[in-house]
Amino acid sequence: MANIIKIGMADLNVTVSPNILQTCGLGSCVGICLWDPVTKVSGMAHIMLPSSSLGKTANDAKFADTAVPLLINEMKKTGADPSRLVAKIAGGAQMFSFYSSNDIMKIGERNTEAAKAALQSARIRLLAEDTGGSYGRTIEFYSENGKLYVRTINLGEKYI
């Protein structure tokens, strides 16, 4: 029986097959999902901001650049081999369009870029992404097969 493990904003978690990692209502945040195809260990981080240089807080899961190494480390403890990990990401939408161009409003785009950069520096291949747009997403990551399910309000659902 598969358990669904919920991950909140600025949080991360790791599980094994056949469990499912879920995060609801990704807006400008990005869900970073990592999977080891051999041990079927999976991990998911729900990051809010691109870079820890923006502010010092105790929570490494909040920033793309610190969440990826932390997630890899947690997965290693559960039996994953970092050299085998592959990634899928979703989210990074721009929920509000303001008339004035404000940098923080492009936070979704910056989160996506930072997530990709963090994966690249950890030498993890990005297999698929569903990012951008102006709508929220709920995602479920299946440890069993590494599939990522994406659900939206108006644009249906899909697997990537």
Binding site: M9, A10, G25, K62, I104
Partner: protein
């Protein structure tokens, strides 16, 4: 200094008091706009870790209309006015003198009517905050999104996430006395803004 980690009970009380009067002004403005009686709850103030905020508004996947205003000045804040989507449609319908069907989406005009509601209520609220503190609060043009509550909160919380891991939520429920329109009004002060507001009204921690 991390945000909200060392706020005292006295300061929360003072903040709640300003909030009550501010929200009262907002409710009055909304009543005048709609030509109906609008009630309001005494603001509930809570300091929550980010991961718990969506649950406080009925779940991350709940379909809501969010009206988001950023407030500039010496004590920058963010204001988010959130309605369940059915309430948003009823509200926009009252203002536009029409009715939105159950499966009908809000049109452009309805959305801009809703944004105007946000504008008026936020304005009334900020006026009372300004008169208490003698600080200037400069609201942006409101932006509107209709989507999952969690997705809307992401963007708003990202603005204060730079400074801390907790959100200070001031939640007031506006409700139409004869009907069923209710909404949540959130004020999220940015880093140092809360201290500045407290200093301006002379409440020490």
């Amino acid at each position: 200094m991390p945000l909200y980690d060392n706020i005292s009970e006295t300061q929360l009380d003072a903040f709640r008091e300003i909030g009550t009067i501010g929200a009262g002004n907002g409710a009055t403005a909304l009543s005048q706009l709609m030509g109906r009686k609008i009630g309001m709850s005494v603001p509930a103030i809570s300091v929550l870790p980010f991961s718990q905020v969506p649950d406080a508004v009925g779940g991350a996947e709940k379909l809501v209309a969010g009206i988001f205003t950023t407030v500039g000045g010496p004590a920058p804040c963010n204001i988010l006015f959130m309605f369940p989507v059915e309430c948003a449609k009823t509200l926009a319908g009252h203002l536009m003198d029409r009715k939105y069907g159950k499966d009908e989406a809000l049109d452009e005009v309805g959305m801009s009517a809703l944004a105007e509601v946000g504008n008026i209520v936020s304005g009334a609220y900020l006026n009372s905050l300004a008169s208490f503190t003698n600080l200037e609060f400069v609201p942006s043009v409101p932006a509107l999104a209709i989507d999952m509550a969690g997705a809307i909160l992401n963007t708003v919380l990202a603005r204060i996430g730079i400074a801390g891991d907790h959100a200070l939520l001031m939640e007031t429920v506006f409700s139409e006395i004869e009907g069923n329109v209710s909404g949540h009004f959130f004020l999220l002060p940015e880093a140092d803004s809360l201290e500045k507001i407290m200093e301006a009204i002379g409440v020490k921690g």
